[in-house]
Symmetry: C2
């Protein structure tokens, strides 16, 4: 087993066959976003309180796997790391995933990057430049709040570059993710799927509560007006970039409690497949015990 640790574990849809959330939510051939009910709760038959209890129950196992992942990298025994990519329309619950799912992990081992509209400096580089710089280092769980996929979503919907440019990006992203996998990165791509009606309710809440005003932006309504175009752009991205090495998972997100549980379980199931191990001592334990006793 020790010999295997330096090679990244395979993380394909096949390897996860036995696992319920990954199995239930993976985007396979013929997937249609418009056929998935945003209020569904695939792989979880329970109610809200059951889901909340399950979320809490998952914390310890993730915590231990995360510490092993970190430890083996610190010891130079592995380059494994995990990247969680979170995409979704405005109000789909990306912030809640950060707070209530990523927030349950050890912050010392987490690297969150929130991608906004590219800066002037970022615009001088190819679109994957800022993404590459934000990839997690060995041992870490990287989390992208938005990602390279904005470059085939808002960029496509808003015609921010010519079609000939964005249409090439799907293959560029696939090549990029393949190369990341070779470096030891297990990528878990999640789309939080909400309904247009639920978005309306969530935007209204932001307008009704003074403690939520800061989350509201008038531009949100402009994007909402292009809802159908976004669904088409998401469908294209899901079809073209759900690969063996980096499959997409579409998580119904009208029920926040379900979305949070599902994302946690997707991370957990992938960490199990990665199967990080405590590194062996790189010192002689008895010698060190004797030194300590004499100190």
């Amino acid at each position: 087993m020790a010999k295997k640790k330096s090679e990244p574990a395979p993380t394909t849809a096949q390897a996860l066959d036995a696992i319920s959330f990954a199995d239930a939510l993976a985007v396979g051939p013929g997937f249609r976003l418009d056929e998935l009910d945003p209020r569904a709760t695939p792989a979880f038959p329970g109610a809200k309180t059951d889901g909340q209890a399950a979320l809490a129950a998952g914390v310890d196992e993730i915590s231990q796997l995360q510490e092993r992942l970190y430890a083996q990298a610190r010891a130079g025994a592995s380059t494994q790391r995990l990247l969680l990519v979170v995409q979704g329309m405005d109000t789909s619950g990306k912030g809640g995933i950060m707070r209530h799912v990523v927030g349950l992990m050890d912050p010392q081992g987490v690297q969150i990057t929130a991608f906004k509209a590219p800066t002037a400096q970022e615009k001088e580089h190819p679109f994957l430049w800022r993404i590459r710089r934000a990839l997690p280092t060995p041992g870490y769980i990287g989390v992208f709040d938005r990602s390279q996929y904005e470059d085939v979503l808002i960029v496509r919907v808003r015609n921010l570059v010519p079609a000939s440019t964005w249409s090439r990006r799907y293959n560029q992203i696939n090549a990029f993710e393949k190369s990341a996998a070779k470096e030891g990165i297990t990528t878990v791509k999640v789309m939080l799927h909400i309904s247009k009606e639920e978005q309306c309710a969530r935007l209204l809440e932001r307008l009704d509560r003074p403690d939520k005003y800061w989350k509201y932006n008038p531009g949100d309504i402009d994007e909402r007006a292009r809802w159908e175009d976004y669904q088409v752009a998401y469908q294209a991205a899901l079809e073209k970039t759900s690969t063996e090495i980096a499959p997409w998972y579409v998580v119904p997100a009208d029920r926040k409690w379900y979305a949070r549980l599902a994302v946690q379980r997707l991370v957990l199931e992938h960490l199990r497949v990665m199967n990080p191990q405590w590194p062996p001592a790189d010192f002689d334990v008895e010698t060190e015990k004797a030194r300590l006793a004499n100190s």
Copy 2:
């Protein structure tokens, strides 16, 4: 009130007079590290289970204050931010503070930096260069796992630079922290104070448990051999750099549960003094409701 928000709230020992942990743990004139019992639990009369319950009970208030801090900065209404500096001997529990105290905050609003021995690039710059680059941006809670104080602790004990150099650094640090305060940074400096006996027990645990080997380094025993020198260096740092604007707090840390509670409360008490506010809407709420209704 809106006018005041752009000015950082004062965070001095005086402003915190009414507050128990800050009051009980602040380093004032005549403070002697060797007179503080590392097993004491100042400002908290309860037992371990009470302390753990109190830690859990503090989460919601910190969470709300943290969100306000973040929100007001996002809205451009304030430059306030908090910097938690954590220092202590090996095994004093710095990692546990990150995991069990910082880990209870929203990770979207936290920036952790773990300072190791300076890299070649860092060595080409003045010692505060890498510190300045890691200061939290407005709205964030920055956390330093080790800090600029290593440059008057291990550097002094190990004679890594001439005495004429390190002896100037206390004033340089004070000037640096004063300037940080002017930019809106409230600095909370914590020393985790353990006994030499407790360190022995914790190192032994790392040598007894294969899941802890990765935390052990034979160099830890070399540093332990200089225990008294480190205590002298800490005493000097505490005396020379506990200022009105950035006081030190020494937290007895032989009991992990107490140290975690105390650090959480120190952060909480400072956030209360900072008193961040939800920013007002920068759009017309009724107009936006109408736009949403028509969307």
